[in-house]
Amino acid sequence: MKVSRRKFIQGSACASLLYSLPSKANLLNYNPNTNQFVFQILVPDGMDVTLSLDPLTHAKFNTDQADVFIEYRPDQIFGNGKLLLGPACEALRPYLNEIAVVNGIVMRRDTGHEALLSYIASGSGSAALPYIAVESNHILQEPTLGVLIAGSVKMGQRLATLTQIENLKQLGTGNNQVSYLNPFYNNVSNLLSTEIQNLVDFNFRKSELASEIDKVKSLLNSDYEEIPVIIGSFLKGMSKTAVLDISRLENMELELDTHSNHESEHLSSQMAVWNFIAHVFDCFKKIEYNKGSLFDNTTFIVMSEFSRTPFLNGARGKDHNVYTNSVLLAGGRVQGGKSVGESKMLKRSQRPDGIAIHIGKPFDFSLGQSVNTNGENVNLIYPENLAKSFRGLYNQSENFYPQLTGIKEIKGLFKS
């Protein structure tokens, strides 16, 4: 059993527990055959889903440009019938059968970028729950480096080691042995004993990790140093989860919060996002792992805090739309090639206030499909439904978000 640093501290005042610390070596043993990884990618500022994960045509809802501003032709939408993607996602075309999209997620109300990014990433609107990757890290029995992060994460009540990806970009391959610290801490009550064990282990394996990262780097030839760092850490079993805030990438200049001049500016930024995502997929595909590729053994989650209002405002921009949002899932455990949930357009002519709305459609959680009627298991899809659905990755473990008791799951997102 892994003893977390906090648990150790709690036990440190009790001398009888001092000898019961598990060996770090045991903690690091893992069976690659059972390894699964989770890579949560956050795209802050709010993406216009009509350009990507939830494309629209005027014909579908009998709308015009004043209801929903669409800057692409219908023939630019591509897909397989069950999953349609907009032109910003062109780079994902090769992955159509390995990705799934959840559409029509309602974010309830606009409380700002930060609060809603936390909401979609964790399923809690009050920052009470950890991000999905942090919760997964707990279930996956946190390896040495815990959750790899670029940007900040919400931890809820979970105690997890967080390792900045940026730190790992600086790894050297020199002699980093610090095992001499062990005798100082062995059998002595000290608050930092477990951290020292981790440090010794980390330094012992640092060169190994650094050379793995170098190896991956040369194989991938990626412009983004973060990718080989994450892959290298996954391959060495030093981490199983990562949270990457895409705005932290050095080579990524994005303008997504387009309250003005939305046209083409937002599209080009969003294309950059999806090109990067496709590049990540390419990289993970290239890495062999567990009789397949690393892509097959990883679950990717790509999410933004909200969508954008359908029509152009006075400044020819699109504002925050909390009435619908979409999330992309990918990887070997994802039931790919389909979208779950739908959104709909409420035209301005249908609305008493004359303002068109793009909103999530009611969803029958027992049937697993969107419906136009009320019913016992029918409700809108909220972020907490999505968060709980990741139990599908972990044999419906009740230890995954135990707080979400009574929340309905979206079934059929993951292979059993």
Partner: protein, 701 residues
């Protein structure tokens, strides 16, 4: 044989001392030296001079020792490091980027938190401490100073000039300042001096209110059509009235139904007959969930009307609405009309809630938030603070000489009382205020004079919070409460209940509670004692770490943070939510320390301190080369011990540990070096440094 005997004695010592509880190492050391180290780190973020520790240790008279410490407190309160450290504390409180004492730029967080730290707000902060000005200046000052930097001063001046009522004065003031700025040379712009911006004669002061009308505050808390200045109001409530309100998305049945109906029927009436925005504004005004915060936020936000980018010269009236916590624990709603921002600032400073809130900040900074602070104590401290004309330095000095600081009373597992739970119960009450039948848990204990009713309420608390861990579906607080009980709070509640739900006098209830099967981690109290921030014993963190290492090695090498994320590793708070991503050191911080030592240690720093010492003739010359030639294993035990002791004193501070802990500590170092017999003396010293600097004894103060 001699060596075996020697080690035998050490083993004996180890057996006696090595397993002493962590806290005793710090609390029962040489108490005065330990206290001086703590005071120095709290006030300046640096270690005390070893000569001071040596002098203090040589004083035997207790009164003289106290006098010595008082002299040092006075000295520290005058230091630049103190002003920088306190400014950083205020920046953390205001959730803006910390000013780096070294002037480096860490672009760690999002743009909106990156406004220049060289600003009138920072001058206001630093003047509070360098000039011991009244704390109320934070809300009432109308006479700002600008940094001595042409670009910054010019930018801020442009913002403030709109406040001038009288054109003649405005033009005159602007021209004077411009002339002054023009006269600056590049050398003048060192940012350490300031120029007065606004004189009371020339400027309209009706709408200026200290820190909350500075450009940096305005930029940090921007207003939008949607938040309508509420961000600013929320910051004021949090900083000055200790009422924290965060933006949250709370599920509500009525909201969800409205959204569902809207999705099914576009023509939904009446909820969405207005625009989305109007509907939301209307909801904020009517929905009880929203109203719990918005009835306080909105009237205060009104005072910022017309002040979106810079303070409007015309004040906008509003209202100060808040709940004052009375001495008996009850809360009273206070509503005070205010004529504008300046009036708002003054009226806040007139409130008892403001005083008790401000002393709580000082308490957390210097005594520790984990040391229970009762409402009675808050009132008592508020009176002292007021009596000291609300001057921060005087109050800090008072706190550092108080029994609360010298002998902090931490939570005792076997003596938990109602007062320890009151904060938690207040949070419970915040959601149940409109329920007529719900007991008000924070207003006193027993909850009812009728013992049977009291026991029923306690049992209801046990079941509704699922203290038996039966994973009930509907336990408190519910999903939509906007908060959850932390593991600490859960353990605290369980411990209080199972130890007899004592009142504030320590009297247990007579009846039996349904506590059978309630289990908790008894060590939760100990574990809460050590964090990076604001615990009575805390870890060295952020700029203090950099400063301390710079002092030890007389080198800025460690200060060269290679990337912004190291700030998180070093325990910096995220200005977005004011929290640290990690609360105590993880191994990456220790790795940073190790690398820091390896980069910094040189003949001029760590080695030089002992080279002249008694290693003649083995270490005859002050050269690093000599240290390379000698193997650790070649030294005899006395020499090894001397080297270790010398370095321990150098890094930890002279007599900071108790004699017993010190012996144990030195022994552990000796044992650690046993595996380094073939290391050069230079390498061994490096290892000694890494070991000491990664130990709790060094990192905790």
């Amino acid at each position: 044989m001699k060596k075996i005997l020697y080690i035998g004695v050490w083993v004996l010592l180890l057996q006696v001392n090595a397993f002493a509880a962590e806290e005793s190492v710090f609390n029962e050391g040489n108490v005065y030296n330990t206290r001086l180290r703590k005071i120095s780190l709290l006030l300046q973020g640096t270690m005390p001079a070893n000569s001071d520790l040596e002098n203090l240790a040589m004083i035997h008279d207790i009164n003289e020792k106290e006098n010595f410490i008082e002299t040092k407190i006075n000295e520290y309160l005058m230091s630049e490091n103190y002003v920088a450290k306190m400014t950083n504390r205020l920046e953390e409180l205001y959730r803006v980027r910390l000013t780096d004492p070294e002037g480096r730029a860490f672009e760690a967080f999002e743009d909106e938190y990156l406004q220049s730290t060289n600003s009138s707000l920072n001058i206001l902060f630093s003047d509070l401490f360098s000039k011991n000005q009244p704390w109320d200046n934070l809300l009432t000052l109308t006479n700002y100073s600008l940094p001595l930097s042409y670009n910054v001063a010019n930018e801020e001046m442009n913002a403030y000039q709109f406040l001038v009522y009288n054109h003649q004065f405005r033009d005159q003031a602007r021209s004077e300042i411009e002339n002054f700025l023009d006269s600056l040379t590049y050398e003048d712009e060192d940012g350490t001096a300031s120029i007065p911006l606004i004189s009371n004669n020339a400027m309209g002061v009706k709408n200026l209110a200290g820190s909350i009308t500075t450009e940096r505050f305005f930029s940090r808390y921007p207003t939008t059509k949607l938040n309508a200045n509420r961000k600013r109001a929320a910051a004021i409530f949090r900083i000055f009235l200790c009422d924290s309100m965060e933006a949250v998305v709370l599920p509500s049945e009525s909201d969800d139904k409205m959204l569902f109906d809207l999705s099914l029927n576009a023509n939904q009436e009446p909820s969405h007959q207005d625009s989305v925005m109007t509907s939301m504004a209307k909801k904020h005004g009517e929905d009880p969930q929203c109203q719990s915060c918005h009835h306080k936020l909105d009237p205060m936000a009104k005072t910022f009307l017309g002040s979106s980018v810079v303070p409007n010269k015309e004040p906008s009236p509003g209202e100060l609405v808040f709940y004052e916590q009375k001495k008996d624990g009850s809360k009273e709603k206070i509503s005070i009309p205010v004529s504008g921002l300046n009036d708002l600032g003054h009226k806040i400073t007139n409130q008892q809630q403001y005083l008790t809130c401000q002393v709580t900040h000082f308490w957390n900074w210097f005594v520790g938030e984990n040391v229970p602070l009762s409402i009675e104590k808050k009132y008592e401290l508020a009176e002292v603070f007021d009596g000291l004309e609300r001057k921060p330095n005087d109050f800090i000095k008072f706190l550092l000489q108080s029994e609360d600081f010298i002998h902090p009373v931490n939570l005792q597992l076997d003596d938990l009382r109602y007062a320890n739970l009151k904060t938690l119960f207040t949070r419970c009450d915040s959601c149940h205020t409109n329920e007529i039948l719900a007991p008000v848990l924070s207003q006193g204990y027993p909850f009812s004079k009728d013992a049977s009713v009291n026991i029923n309420i306690l049992n209801k608390i046990i079941s509704s919070t699922d203290l038996h861990e039966q994973k009930s579906v509907d336990y408190m607080p519910p999903q939509n409460a906007g908060w959850t009980m932390s593991s600490f709070e859960r353990n605290l509640l369980k411990a209080w209940i199972t130890t007899g739900a004592k009142d504030n006098d320590g009297i247990e209830i007579e009846q039996e509670l349904n506590t059978s099967g309630i289990t908790y981690d008894e060590n939760f109290i100990t574990s809460s004692n050590f964090k990076f921030h604001d615990t009575s014993l805390r870890y060295l963190n952020n700029y203090d770490l950099l400063k301390v290492f710079k002092e030890i090695y007389n080198s800025g090498t460690c200060s060269e943070l290679s990337n912004v994320n190291e700030l998180i590793t070093l325990g910096f708070k995220d200005p977005r939510d004011g929290k640290s991503l990690i609360e105590s050191p993880n191994f990456l911080l220790l790795d940073w320390i190790k690398n820091c030592v390896e980069k910094s240690i040189s003949i001029n720093t760590g080695y030089s301190s002992f080279l002249p010492y008694p290693f003649e003739p083995k270490v005859a010359q002050n050269t690093e080369m000599k240290l390379d030639d000698i193997l650790w294993g070649e030294l005899d035990e006395t020499e090894k011990q001397t080297i270790i002791q010398w370095n321990t004193d150098l890094l930890l501070g002279y007599k900071v540990l108790s004699a017993e802990s010190y012996d144990s500590y030195v022994y552990r170092l000796l044992m650690a070096l046993e595996t380094s017999k073939d290391s050069s003396l230079k390498e061994a010293i490096k290892k000694i440094h890494v070991t000491i600097l990664t130990s709790s004894e060094f990192l905790i103060y």
